[in-house]
């Protein structure tokens, strides 16, 4: 392009440049305008909520369902009114609920059978608690199928989500059965189930399954022990480290430090496999010993049907319990469907479905007293005797120590091999 000797060409060139710049500006400007109102918006009122909304977010009935109706036009069964409202919305969006976690498969099946007019839209079963929070934040104004209605997160995420204004309060009919230590008094979040950490062992690959944390250090388990997640990011993995520390007899924050030391030892001995364990890595023998929630381990055994056999050993020393909580998103596109879901989860049917997945439903003690737990289900749940139920503050304290200390104390990150 010999433009140097061509003044007209030069002018044209400048005109093109100007045009290009204007175009670019236009594109960027329109983008900025689009996202301008974006970032932090006031929570939208539940938009499409139909007229017959379930009155009062507190349903103070003592017994489930069929009691006297609360105000307005609700017929004899308040659940029916809620169902109508939910039907109008037509869809429920859940997130982070794998079918083989506490047998959510049965929970979903039961819910769909009972309320067939509501389409259940399941998002991202592999999500972690942080993912769920991010999903709410990212979809604040989105009425579409990407926005979760309900979340199931680790205990510590309840209060933080409430603080960030991401969840809305709702008290289910069976509210009083939930222990106070596992719920927010105003109804923003509420415990749903719990379990204890155990050793998930592939018995085809490991002749002598370990029973205590101290066992894991033995040479026979060389290259076999793994966590179920990244101790810098996963709730279960952090609690595993803490539990190892607790098994040495230490308590509280000292136990967190002791846990780090334990894993340093484990790694130095060559017993620690530095990957994210899951049911597959256990099943093929890549991580034949994994520290995970008892319910995952036991359900894995059922699903594998003996190919191979999975043993679930709950240690007596350092047994730690983990509680998860439910909450409804403040920006839920289908708030009534969300409430209906909660009612189902906390009904006997929902609670027992979780129990069939080897999880302790949060209303267990109340249900046991009322005699609504079938004997065979009660029998297959592992003992939680001696299990440590940490409070939120204790968890946060231990979390801080472990996430900070892991890279330096245990130092398991991958580096280039020395030349």
């Amino acid at each position: 392009m010999a433009l140097n000797t061509n003044p007209k060409g030069e002018k044209r060139m400048k005109a093109r440049k100007l045009l290009f710049n204007l175009l670019t500006l236009l594109v960027f400007a329109s983008l900025l305008a689009a996202c301008g109102g974006g970032a932090t918006e006031a929570p939208p009122a539940a938009t499409e909520a139909p007229a017959t909304e379930m009155p009062a977010t507190e349903a103070p009935t003592e017994a489930p369902a069929t009691e006297a109706p609360a105000a307005t036009e609700a017929p004899a069964d308040p659940m029916a009114a809620l169902y109508e409202a939910a039907k109008a919305e037509g869809m429920l969006t859940t997130i982070a609920l794998p079918h083989d976690w506490c047998n959510y498969e049965a929970v979903f099946a039961g819910f769909k059978a009972k309320y067939p007019d509501i389409e259940v839209n399941e998002l991202n079963p592999g999500a972690g608690s942080g993912d769920e929070i991010e999903a709410i934040k990212a979809n604040q104004n989105n009425p579409g199928p990407q926005a979760p209605d309900v979340i199931d997160v680790g205990l510590a995420f309840g209060p933080s989500a409430k603080e960030e204004g991401l969840i809305q309060p709702y008290k289910v009919a069976t509210w009083d059965d939930i222990p106070d230590s596992a719920k927010d008094p105003e109804g923003y979040w509420y415990g749903d189930y719990y379990g204890v950490l155990s050793f998930e062992v592939n018995t085809a690959a490991v002749e002598n399954p370990p029973t205590e944390y101290a066992d894991l250090l033995k040479p026979e388990y060389n290259g076999q022990v793994a966590l179920s997640g990244d101790p810098l990011a996963s709730n279960a993995a952090i609690l595993s480290v803490w539990a190892a520390g607790l098994s040495t007899g230490a308590t509280g924050e000292e136990a967190a430090q002791a846990g780090l030391e334990f894993f340093k030892q484990l790694n130095d001995a060559g017993n620690f496999v530095p990957i994210d364990g899951n049911s597959k890595t256990v099943g093929i023998g890549e991580t034949p010993v994994m520290i995970d929630w008892n319910y995952n381990s036991m359900l894995n055994n059922v699903n594998l049907a003996g190919n191979p056999e999975i043993a679930t050993n709950v240690p007596t020393k350092g047994s730690i319990a983990g509680v998860y909580v439910q909450a409804i998103s403040a920006y839920a596109p289908h708030p009534n469907a969300a409430k209906l879901w909660m009612e189902y989860l906390y009904s006997d049917e929902g609670q027992l479905a979780w129990a069939s997945g080897f999880c302790y439903p949060i209303r267990y003690n109340a249900m046991l007293a009322a005699g609504t737990v079938p004997e065979d289900l009660a029998a297959q749940l592992p003992s939680t005797e001696g299990a440590f139920f940490p409070t939120i503050d204790e968890i946060n304290a231990a979390k801080a120590i472990i996430t900070e200390g892991w890279p330096t104390v245990v130092g398991v990150t991958v580096e280039a091999p020395a030349p």
Binding site: P98, P125, G126, A138, N142, G144, Q146, S279, G306
Partner: protein, 279 residues
């Protein structure tokens, strides 16, 4: 080797030796590299046969096909892929052409943009997209199908690095200027030049780009997941998390079907791949 005027007999004799040696070393290289690629596949296949305890069988495959979610997810992914390929070709070829021929100053910017998909982590990209297009005036995520269109557009953007690089390489290989000049002097207008002169000469490049785009889309996970789309990626991921043997069966099946799709694409573009050019 050299074409000296020698008798036919001696010419063939002297010519054969180096050619055979070259062919031998070609096969050797090909063989070694093939091994590298085939062994992990073989291992996967072996594990997929272990669905029943202590016996090698196809139980895992049976379970896979019994799952009602598998084939719909797969077909959705294939349709998405084809749509993305079409759109990407339509956008990238003229762009590469114009940048090469008329707007060389834009090259750096276009190259940079074309490589952006690599450095924007998928999770960040999808969150950005949702934030941008989940509210008026650009409410594009309200329904499953509209979200699907957005997904396809994202895939087009993700294909830019591969498509642009392939097309660019292809354009370098043909003398674009001369071709354009010749076509222009014959009176062709721009659409004609593009469609009837440039596109056909870029067959190999377009094929490469299309194959790579297909590869990206078919198993893509993160974006489909957050856009709440029921495609193959999320399906595979779910399977992998919970099952032990079915994922391997799935990988093999996906492999086979993708192979078939690739073969089809090659056929449609005229099987250009047979001819070899210079030496």
């Amino acid at each position: 080797m050299t074409t000296t005027p020698a008798s036919a007999a001696s010419a063939t004799v002297t010519v054969q030796h180096p050619v055979t040696r070259k062919r031998l070393s070609s096969w050797l290289i090909f063989g070694v590299v093939s091994l590298y690629f085939l062994i992990p596949l073989g291992a996967t296949f072996y594990w997929s046969l272990r669905g029943t305890k202590d016996v090698l069988g196809f139980e895992a495959y049976r379970k896979l096909f019994a799952d009602t979610n598998f084939l719909p997810a797969f077909s959705q992914s294939i349709v998405n892929a084809i749509a993305a390929i079409f759109l990407s070709l339509l956008i990238v070829v003229p762009t590469a052409y114009w940048v090469t021929l008329r707007l060389p100053k834009l090259r750096s910017i276009v190259e940079f943009i074309a490589l952006l998909p690599f450095v924007i982590p998928a999770v960040v990209l999808v969150f950005g997209i949702i934030l941008l297009y989940s509210r008026p005036p650009l409410l594009w995520t309200a329904t499953y199908n509209s979200s699907r269109v957005v997904l396809i557009c994202i895939y087009v953007a993700l294909s830019f690095p591969y498509m642009f690089r392939s097309v660019d390489n292809g354009l370098r290989a043909i003398d674009v200027r001369a071709l354009t000049e010749a076509a222009q002097s014959l009176g062709a207008n721009w659409p004609t030049i593009l469609l009837q002169v440039i596109f056909p000469n870029l067959r190999t490049a377009l094929l490469s780009g299309a194959l790579l785009t297909f590869a990206i889309v078919i198993g893509e996970l993160t974006i489909a997941l957050y856009m709440a789309q029921h495609t193959l990626g999320p399906y595979m991921s779910d399977l992998t998390r919970s099952k032990v043997y079915e994922p391997s069966a799935m990988a093999i099946v996906a492999f086979a079907i993708t192979w078939a799709a690739m073969g089809l694409i090659q056929l449609v573009t005229g099987g250009q791949a047979q001819t070899t050019a210079g030496h």
